[in-house]
Symmetry: C2
Subunit: 455 residues, 2 copies
């Protein structure tokens, strides 16, 4: 007897619900597979895992395998291999498939946004306000030079040499300002240079750069939403961004104490993580509601909650949640990126490639000069400090993802930015090894979970 | 100068995206608040936290505050306080608000389904196949009696005395079969009876009941989807459900070893949790694709992964993820429940109330008799074993949530089932204390994180 295997029934009203769930489950499987495979391969060749997650996303996305695609111009359910599979197995009509495709994309997009909210919450938790104050003026100078020079040179260059209009040029310039605290600190730890003087200044500057970058991002994203550069709005946004962050931190100490009092009274599961997430999500909502970006709120929430004695436990609990949700963000950013515009055999694409070369040059030069801002330190390795600021990593991707969502970036510019992020992230570990000549660690075999200690 | 505070711009195409994110963030804040407040209050009066999460959901949902509502008959964006707030702050048109409301509800629904998938994965991880075998025939008998008696009596009684048609009656009967392993084990631990002979049999039977219940659920849910009782289909489903679970477990040992080999080679973040989730989500997808329920797949995945030496680490990492996602399920189940149908002042509601009384009686008697199935144990406390099987807890809610999604349950019957789940869960801890007269633990002040040990 042959037993028919009816897959999801598609006639009742509940079928759509289970089809949406099925397509989300398959999408998550694809995302996790791409993230793990890419991350591990990247790690094996001595590069940050995040780079591999992004490349994994590019491979499963619209540039190659079409497993994970998002609705857009000329893109509907028939472009998605996952939807084609579900259509085949369930005999869905194209209209029904499009409905499921829209719902699935909405769910994955929100999950990826929650992923980046949690990533920035985690970065906030890792950043220590007091250490940051202690590193002092050196780190602030390095960070400021590293924001101003790439932003000004990048934005001006794109407008003058490439005729890009102000908003997308500013977005690209903003993406150039980022420094990945995650990648920088991991590479320094792998080289055994985390506690060197150069390492301290790089780390401090990367933390400050994160804050400056988020303010820049909030300003730029708002400009992109409003479609024009409005000076009053810029001033309002700078005040709002700065005020929000400073206010959150100023209130932080008092809040942090009430948080501990509340949490210590709770006895049931989720006693620490749920109050923390309520705080982070409320802050993210407020940041978004006053026209900043949601991630600014969760970053501030992380910074505030960093200052209490539940911090270690909270960080420990956030790690698996970040491990589950953050890859959705990175893989989605990669998947949304249409690298085909960089194909040099198509004449129209050459502009994008030239832009990518320009952006990479600005990205490297603009950060290497930051070492010159260090003063009063005779024997300091200025080149190492500058090189340490190069990797854009996940912070650059945050800029790209938000710019991409606003729709202001042209495809060649978007691809040029992702090339810049990939190349700076890719080049930083070998370059850092080169400029720290006394480091004898073999980058290839380093396990990031067991950082090599200083000798 | 008065600075205008424009909330989310609603004119561009990207605004919808940030409005959906904003409404999801606000919904999550409401869910976490309801879950924590309800869970903690419930815990303070000596009841399981999960009961409070459910009641918290009822309070924020369609029965009371209307903060968390889902689209349906007579329910659109104007019914949701969160959507009203966003409409007010952004000047959305009712059509745009309905679009955001639909997308937000879709996201929260999928998150709650992922939550229950992870809950069953965690229950699978907690259930130990070998211990389960060791408890032996006693536990199997108790579990079988506890499934057959309430199912038969409940289904027959609803059809005969209340004229309910077969499918919804079977669904209600199936909900009566559940035993909450989580609640049972926690209450036993609170009473210091986890390692008594009665405790062992209750626990073993609850584990087996979980497996039987999931098979019953899969069968019943499929019947509900097809709209009729089809004997060939029932046989196919029993074979599929049993075969799926047995096959997964039989292959489990080999798979578990490859899993360890793969995981031990991974070096980047998420090295354990992402492969585990790939497995759990693939199994959930397969279970759903062969017409069973997705949760059956994740439960089998948890059982399989239980059998290896990464288990403790995996369980530790799943806890914060479950803490974040599982409450979305419980609160959503509560929020979807319209308790107003149990209002006795409306004459039409009296049938629902009478059904609730009948279901509660069957729920208690049908489990108390299971103690009689124990043989060859002279001094055993049969009453305690029967009472230990009473709480339906999260497993009963899984049945209710799935029944509710299929749309076959009438509102009075749905409310009667939730009353049954609430009352059995509510009554079990004080009743258990009563039937274990030698337990001297004060239930009220017990901290579940610090279980009272046996004296």
């Amino acid at each position: 007897m042959t037993i028919p295997l009816p897959l999801f029934a598609s006639t009742t009203e509940t079928a759509d619900g289970s089809l949406v769930l099925a397509s989300v489950l398959l999408s998550l499987v694809v995302i996790y597979f791409a993230s793990k495979l890419g991350g591990e391969l990247s790690n094996r060749v001595g590069l940050p895992a995040v780079l591999g997650e992004l490349v994994g996303g590019v491979i499963v996305g619209v540039s190659a395998l079409n497993l994970l695609v998002f609705p857009g111009e000329n893109v509907d359910a028939s472009s998605s291999l996952i939807m084609q599979f579900l259509q085949f197995s369930d005999g869905l009509t194209p209209e029904a498939a499009n409905g499921v495709f829209q719902a699935q994309s909405e769910v994955i997009s929100v999950l990826s946004e929650i992923g980046v909210i949690i990533l920035l919450f985690e970065i906030g938790l890792e950043s220590n306000l007091k250490d940051l104050m202690g590193v002092g003026i050196q780190a602030v100078l390095v960070a400021c030079v590293g924001v101003v020079v790439p932003f000004a040179a990048g934005t001006a260059g794109l407008m003058i040499f490439f005729g890009i209009s102000a908003i997308p040029a500013i977005f690209a310039g903003a993406a150039l300002t980022a420094t990945s605290i995650g990648i920088t600190s991991r590479v320094l730890s792998e080289l055994g240079k985390l506690n060197s003087k150069e390492g301290q200044i790089i780390l401090g500057a990367a933390v400050i750069d994160d804050i400056l970058g988020i303010i820049v991002l909030a300003v730029v994203a708002s400009l992109a939403k409003d479609g024009a550069v409005d000076v009053a709005n810029v001033v309002y946004l700078i005040i709002a961004a700065g005020g929000f962050l400073v206010g959150a931190i100023a209130l932080g100490n008092a809040f942090s104490k009430s948080f501990i009092v509340i949490v210590s009274k709770l006895k049931t599961r989720g006693d620490l993580i749920l109050p923390a997430f309520i705080f982070a999500f409320v802050m993210a909502y407020i940041a978004a509601a006053i026209h900043l970006e949601a991630i600014l709120g969760s970053f501030a929430a992380g910074l505030v909650l960093d200052e209490n004695d539940k911090r270690n436990e909270l960080q420990k609990q956030v790690i698996p949640i970040a491990d589950m949700l953050v890859p959705i963000f990175f893989v989605t950013v990669g998947a949304r990126t249409d690298l085909s515009v960089l194909n040099p055999t198509i004449p129209a694409n050459r502009e994008g490639l030239v832009m990518a070369v320009f952006l990479v040059a600005i990205a490297i030069i603009g950060k290497v000069v930051t070492g010159l801002a260090v003063f009063g330190q005779e024997k300091i390795n200025r080149l190492a400090i500058g090189v340490g600021m190069i990797p854009r990593g996940e912070v650059g991707l945050v800029f790209l993802g938000i710019g991409s969502n606003t729709g202001v970036l042209s495809k060649p510019l978007e691809a040029a930015i992702i090339m810049m992020v990939i190349l700076t992230t890719f080049l930083a570990p070998p370059l850092l090894k080169l400029v720290f000549p006394d480091s004898d660690t073999n980058l290839v075999s380093v396990n990031p979970d067991k950082p090599v200690l200083e000798d």
